[in-house]
Amino acid sequence: MTVDLTQFHDAFFEESFEALDAMEAALLKLDIGAPDPELINTIFRVAHSIKGGSATFGFTDIASFTHSLETLLDELRSGAMAVTDQVSDVLLKSVDVMRAMLRAVQAKQPIDAQRVSDLQFDLEVIIARKHAAPPPSAAPQAAAPQAAAARWQVRFRPYRELLARGNDPLRMLRELGELGEMQVRIDAQSLPALTDLQPQDCHLAWTIELSGEVPEEAIRQVFDWAEGDCELQIGRTAEAAAEPQVEQPPAPATPAATEPAPSETVAAQADSQAEGPPEAPAATGAAASAPRAEPASKPEAAVSAHGDSGSIRVSVDKIDELMNTVGELVITQAMLSQLGGQFDGPQAEQLRAGLAQLERNMRELQESVMRVRMLPISFVFSRFPRMVRDLAHRLGKQIELKLTGEQTELDKTVLEKIGDPLVHLVRNCIDHGIEPPEKRVAAGKPAAGTVHLDATHRGGNIAVEVSDDGGGLDKERILAKARARGLIGANDTLSDAEIYELIFLPGFSTAEKTTDVSGRGVGMDVVRRNVKSLGGKIEVSSEAGRGSRFTITLPLTLAIVDGQSVAVGSETYIVPLISIVESMQLKNGNVSRLSGQAEVFSFRGDYLPIIRLHEVFGVEPHTRALHEGLVVVAEGDGRRVGLFVDDLLGQQQVVIKSLETNYGHIEGISGATILGDGSVALILDVPGLIRVASMRIAA
């Protein structure tokens, strides 16, 4: 019988990926020649922890590679070796290789052994060369004393699950021992009888006295990896000595020694004690020469333990389930509200007040649950500094990357899917937008081009902008290319906006030569498709010689949409508010019929086609006369149309139910929702609707 470690893999991968992001960010901040020792420490610790974790889980390739990496980092940390451009490049590559290895292992795919061993060889060459040559004269003060000589007392009380998460106190104490002289006292009071002991649970705690010139930060960093999995108290010995023995701490500040973890652990502990030999804990207490803490302090201990860990990891599935239930509740609440309106009598008023209260609470609940799924967009933005650096390097351009609004939050699903489109856009800006330095200087601009990524909330949406101060979109070249490809006629005249729209057509690319960066013509159309699949839209504006700006507008969440409900005959449809320009009543005079059967109406100097929803969906309408119904001017894929409907019913937030999962894909429909009266309404997909309608007209 062995412990199934695979159950802990996910947590290890997740934490490792996060740590690698941190390592990458630290590497990018590292100054060549005069590195910040704290940054090197951070980088070292990531490598060290991944090494430890992968060794625990038996990922020997990763452990071996990180070992070499760690050796090199150790040289940097001790100041025996200087941080050069070459070293920094190799370290960045190592981040990539580690990420690739972790991904491969996670997906149970083979590791790219050649790539790994090549880089490992590079690492070892750098290390070997250092040993052959005398160390650099000006060794950086990696171990610079930042604190006066002092004695620290560290109280380290792991939660039960610490070991299972791939953390080993042994490793931490070993690291701590490297910082200074150390005395360790173990607290094994909570250790249950062997028969009750789950091998992957940690029941031990330690009090460590550390002497030497050690900054507190360095101590904390030793335990970085275990953050959230343990209680940690660091204090000067002078203060600590004034306190009673560790086994009898003052209850609220220092949790009771016997209870390491949250309340569920407390309960489990009580059970195991009840089942196990009763004298066992008391006897261990004696062995540790201290009395047991009173049970009365248990709840406080649990509270304090919770207070210490600021966050918990929850699987997305659970949150989705919660979200789903909330969605159902919203529907039920809408049903009740509708029903409540029909009651009369003395208690009806009370009922309605209660329902109004319910509605308010529902909205709050819905918002809270949605917020749980929200993450700051910095998760996506953080990959760009590295990418921009590499690209600029490769293309011989100077680029300054500006990130703003990184704290803007959006739904995790949206966040995950917006990464690739943004990468495309930023690549395009650097490759096509920003000119080479000499050209920029000749045009009177600074040699370094700026790429700006910005995220802001706009109403119920989030707008992400990618802009550059490069040459802007070249209208003439776009037109020439579009004509050459037969995308437009030789004599068509297009407005600026229409010209820019051309770049979103499949197979369109204006790069004079195809580079490995961009220019294969699979870019902007894919970007638009991805953005659209998220229920968002992308717009472009550009000014020759001044740069271009791409704006992606996205809904905050994929689960709920702000919609306008419209009536067509006996059916109700939802038009997403993001697609609506305005709604209006048509007069007979401003509708004309073109050859064939297409109807158009004039709207602010433009002629827009009319789509009669009753025709598209085969519904019997209340009216076929255009002036008796209403027209909703909607926009999709840069085209505007008028949707002819019987009536507007009202605006509301609707919970999206996938049609694809429950039925199948229908062009022109993005999903369905359940209305307050229990009936189902279809949610319109305006771009799809435009396609369906234009096919009908063409047919």
Partner: protein, 90 residues
């Protein structure tokens, strides 16, 4: 009982099984850690519980030998005296 060279969480359940089987053993149990090359907190915690439980039941445990790796790991964790490792030859 001879401890394996790898005494880590991955094999801890096995170790626990082996130790549990020895818990009620009447005669002195002799542990041999001479081969231990890698050992982690999980394994040491099991050993600590074993040694303690044996003592509580008035049954003896002794060490034949302890490898350097195991010795230093136990010292780092402050477990030397709990395990009575000092008596063991390195």
């Amino acid at each position: 009982m001879v401890l394996q060279p790898e005494c880590t969480l991955a094999d801890a359940a096995e170790l626990k099984g082996a130790l549990c089987a020895l818990l009620a053993h009447e005669a002195t149990v002799t542990l041999d850690g001479a081969l231990v090359d890698r050992i982690d907190t999980a394994a040491l915690q099991l050993l600590a519980a074993f040694v303690r439980d044996r003592r509580l039941a008035g049954r003896a445990v002794e060490w034949r030998a302890v490898s350097r790796a195991m010795h230093s790991a136990a010292q780092l964790l402050g477990m030397g005296s709990m395990l009575s490792l000092s008596e063991a030859a390195q």
